[in-house]
């Protein structure tokens, strides 16, 4: 009996509880509306497409938890993707192309990190500028044209499955596990949350706020690189105009997962579930033939709805302010 109570207490404490509730409602709704929705195959296709945003949302969540924000990731994906396309068109190996993509992504992280932590620029401005510059470079490099890529390694990463589950999804799960451990079991992970909670307190607690912030952005860059490879592999092409929304979808996913935009709080698991929810929503709406403009409206509404639930849940806990 007391075990059951404790169990309930524990479940109640999960930050992304409203999200799971919202997700359940969505799944039930689409299952009722479409006979094709509720199947293993469909769910695997959802998870395949969700993996890019899912991966990106992991470090986006940490960046937000650190009290920062990044708007440049979408452009970084486009840039990395175009560079890979150009290299492979010119005959380089897929491995070299992927390595360079990772390097470039890491460098964009260095740029964001230095601007924000060392120069002291507002993250909103620094990454907004980054967003425009990186996208611009992608256009310059490709002359605004797309490049088709056919490659077996990419096919393996983008489309193939292991034990029935898409490889991209495996990568996402692996990274979720990795960052779950970083966030919960390493001093670095814990410091990120303290910095997000209050930079002043963090500084007076002997935390090197600048170095940790830079490191976090570099890690975020590398993870964006991983997302870029999967994105390019799935698309089979490099487009300078690609991934316009990916960044914002990732932020939405994190917000759905209960991250605090002022920092100090965030759940990786919640963010990934958030990414899955958003993909499920678009998958279901496609199945029902909802027009794309309506899809945008509905996605926006779901975001507001889930966040409102969260606010209500928090309000009940505390005082009136």
């Amino acid at each position: 009996m007391s075990n059951l109570k404790q169990g309930i207490q524990k479940v109640k404490k999960i930050d992304y509880l409203p999200l799971i509730f919202a997700y359940a409602v969505i799944i039930i709704f689409f299952s009722v509306c479409s006979p094709y929705f509720l199947s293993f195959t469909n769910f695997m296709s959802i998870i395949l497409y969700a993996s890019i945003v899912g991966i990106l949302s992991l470090t986006t969540c940490l960046v937000l938890a650190a009290g920062q924000i990044d708007f440049s990731a979408g452009s970084v994906i486009a840039l990395g993707s175009c560079v890979m396309g150009i290299m492979m068109r010119g005959g380089s190996s897929v491995w070299a192309a992927m390595a360079v993509c990772m390097l470039i992504s890491a460098l964009t992280g260095v740029y964001n990190g230095i601007m924000i932590a060392y120069v002291g620029m507002n993250p909103f401005i620094a990454t907004l500028a980054g967003m425009q510059m990186f996208r611009g470079i992608a256009y310059l490099l490709t002359d605004a044209r797309s490049i088709t890529i056919t490659n077996n390694v990419f096919k393996f990463i983008g489309r193939a499955r292991t034990m029935g589950v898409p490889n991209a999804a495996w990568i996402m799960l692996l990274l979720l596990l990795l960052f779950g451990i970083v966030a919960k079991y390493t001093a670095f992970g814990r410091r990120i949350f303290v910095i997000g909670g209050s930079q002043k307190v963090a500084y007076l607690s002997g935390i090197n706020v600048k170095r940790d912030t830079l490191l976090l952005f570099v890690i975020h860059g590398v993870v964006t690189g991983v997302a870029t490879v999967i994105f390019t592999a799935q698309l089979g092409a490099a487009l300078p105009a690609a991934a316009q929304n990916t960044n914002f979808t990732a932020i939405s996913a994190c917000v759905l997962g209960g991250v605090s935009l002022t920092g100090g709080k965030g759940s990786l698991m919640g963010s990934v579930i958030g990414a899955l929810l958003l993909e499920t929503l678009s998958n279901g709406m496609n199945m029902l033939g909802v027009a794309s403009f309506w899809q945008d409206v509905i996605t926006g509404f779901v975001l507001i709805f889930a966040v409102t639930l969260d606010i209500i849940k928090n309000r009940r806990k505390g005082s009136s302010y």
């Binding site: 079991y185 992970g189 949350f193 909670g197 307190v201 002997g206 935390i207 605090s260 005082s319 009136s320």
Partner: protein
């Protein structure tokens, strides 16, 4: 004037107030006394419309009344100085004083000379002199506290509620406030004063109500009781030695400071011996507060030399200092000491991984046992280690900050108002604790605005005046007169 009956307020896990009744009459100073977490601030928040109670009635001027928010209470003529100060750090002192007028209709346009003049007038009422244009973020805790008092006094309230208004003030500033309170009482204002300083109650209050664990445990006229009566009523036992005698003799020099200076300090020469408590005193703005921060590496530009056990230190950042075994307890627990949204446990562990001595892999069992240890040792009153720091009472928050400093096992601990807002019982415990630390050879630099604490606990006292060292007093010379004399003039 203002009366509450059978108030009960429940938070998750705690019954903060349990059937409390209380009344304050016109032109009376009522003191509220009670241990940390007794429910004093909660009662105030109920009175001022921030919390709505589960049960009970509030009567104002004889009529039952319901406040739906702090604005309601303010409009009815109840002004509050809260324990945890809330300011807009980037706005000027004047604007912070004036801000409530921004909600009035006739003030669609801002008249800056009027704003500054009003601010000056408000500050004059308690003899406070801060340039009205200065951003609040640049003011010390004591200054903020006074600004808040000025604001409340200026609002012309009929009921003025002060929640630990003097916790960061020195004797002189406290005296100004006391005079101001007396003036208001004569004008017929009702005042509720919460404080842990019993002397203030004896000095000014007409009546005392004592709270313990959310209950009223006593009520009496101030003239009819002694200090000791009040203390034992409040903690439920007698406190024999408030300031325990230090028994150890300080050893050799541990920290030596030579020609030390920052932009606000200059030419300081002193040493701290192993196992010594060095008291530091100064009047507002003297630079004594900066000294604590500077020795903790917060000013990367400094002159002079600081040696720890003979080794020259680079005081470039707190990170470096913590690794060398120096920790600092900031005076502003809300802004500098705690991540309010994080749990008590996580706050206690904040410094742990920066000492360079401990593993960087987080072991949640170990965190659990460390935080439990401190919660027991310092008697931190909280439902559990998972409770968020924000929901703790002020004094208990202070204990959490102390715990996180002590957990690093430091060689030198710099304390900035260590017992700010801590009740008498817990204070005595902390003093015992500090003494036990010095027995183990830990040195303490204690910057404090509290004279009794300074006199009783320090082995020597360093007095700072206008950024310069005006005296370094040995035990025999340490008297209140000497210290104050040194604090107001350099040629002591």
């Amino acid at each position: 004037m203002l009366k509450v009956e059978h108030i009960t307020k429940i938070f998750p896990g705690v019954k903060a107030l349990d059937d409390v009744s209380l009344e304050v009459r016109k032109g009376e100073v009522l003191a509220l006394l009670g241990e940390n977490g007794a429910g004093k601030s909660t009662l105030i928040k109920v009175l001022s419309g921030i919390h709505s109670p589960e049960e009970g009635e509030i009567y104002y001027k004889g009529e039952p009344i319901k406040f739906h928010g702090p604005v309601d209470a303010k409009e009815a003529g109840i002004s509050v100085v809260h324990q945890e100060l809330a300011f807009l750090p980037l706005l000027s002192v004047a604007e912070n004083l004036y801000i409530r007028h921004y909600t009035e209709k006739r003030h669609r346009l801002v008249n800056w000379s009027e704003v500054n003049a009003a601010a000056k007038e408000a500050m004059d009422m308690i003899h406070l002199h801060i340039p009205p244009e200065r951003p609040v973020g640049k003011c010390s805790v004591a200054e903020c506290q006074q600004i808040e008092i000025a604001r409340a006094v200026y609002e012309n309230a009929q009921v003025l509620i002060l929640d630990e208004p003097t916790s960061a003030l020195n004797d002189k500033e406290t005296e100004e406030l006391m005079k101001c309170i007396e003036g208001l009482r004569e004008k017929g204002v009702s005042i509720i004063l919460i404080t842990h300083k019993i002397e203030e109650i004896m000095r000014i209050a007409d009546r005392v109500v004592v709270l313990r664990d959310g209950h009223t445990v006593g009520e009496c006229q101030v003239g009819a009781v002694t200090k000791d009566d009040l203390i034992s009523m409040m903690v439920g036992r007698k406190i024999t030695d408030m300031y325990p005698k230090k028994t150890n003799r300080p050893g050799g020099t541990l920290l030596s400071v030579e020609g030390f200076g920052t932009d606000l300090l200059s030419d300081l020469h002193f040493t701290v011996k192993k196992g010594e408590i060095l008291g530091v005193y100064g009047l507002m703005g003297a630079g004594h507060l900066e000294l604590g921060q500077a020795l903790f590496g917060c000013y990367s530009k400094y002159t002079g030399e600081v040696r720890l056990g003979g080794e020259l230190l680079r005081l470039k950042s707190p990170e470096i200092c913590i690794r060398k075994g120096i920790v600092f307890l900031p005076s502003d627990r809300k802004q500098e000491g705690l991540v309010l949204m994080h749990s008590v446990k996580s706050n206690i562990m904040n410094l742990y991984y920066q000492t360079g001595k401990n593993s960087r892999i987080v072991n949640h069992k170990r965190e659990e046992s460390i935080s439990r240890k401190w919660m027991e040792q310092l008697r931190i009153k909280t439902p559990s280690g998972e409770t968020i720091a924000e929901s703790l009472s002020g004094g208990n928050q202070q204990k959490v900050v102390l715990a996180k400093c002590l957990e690093t096992d430091p060689k030198i601990i710099i304390l900035n108002d260590p017992t700010r807002g801590i009740d008498v019982g817990a204070k005595a415990e902390i003093y015992h604790f500090l003494n036990a630390l010095t027995e183990k050879g830990v040195s303490v630099i204690m910057i404090t605005s509290e004279m009794p604490e300074l006199l009783a606990m320090s082995d020597r006292v360093l007095v700072i005046h206008e950024g310069k060292q005006s005296a370094l007093l040995e035990k025999e010379e340490m008297t209140q007169t000497n210290i104050v004399a040194a604090a107001i003039s350099n040629d002591f």
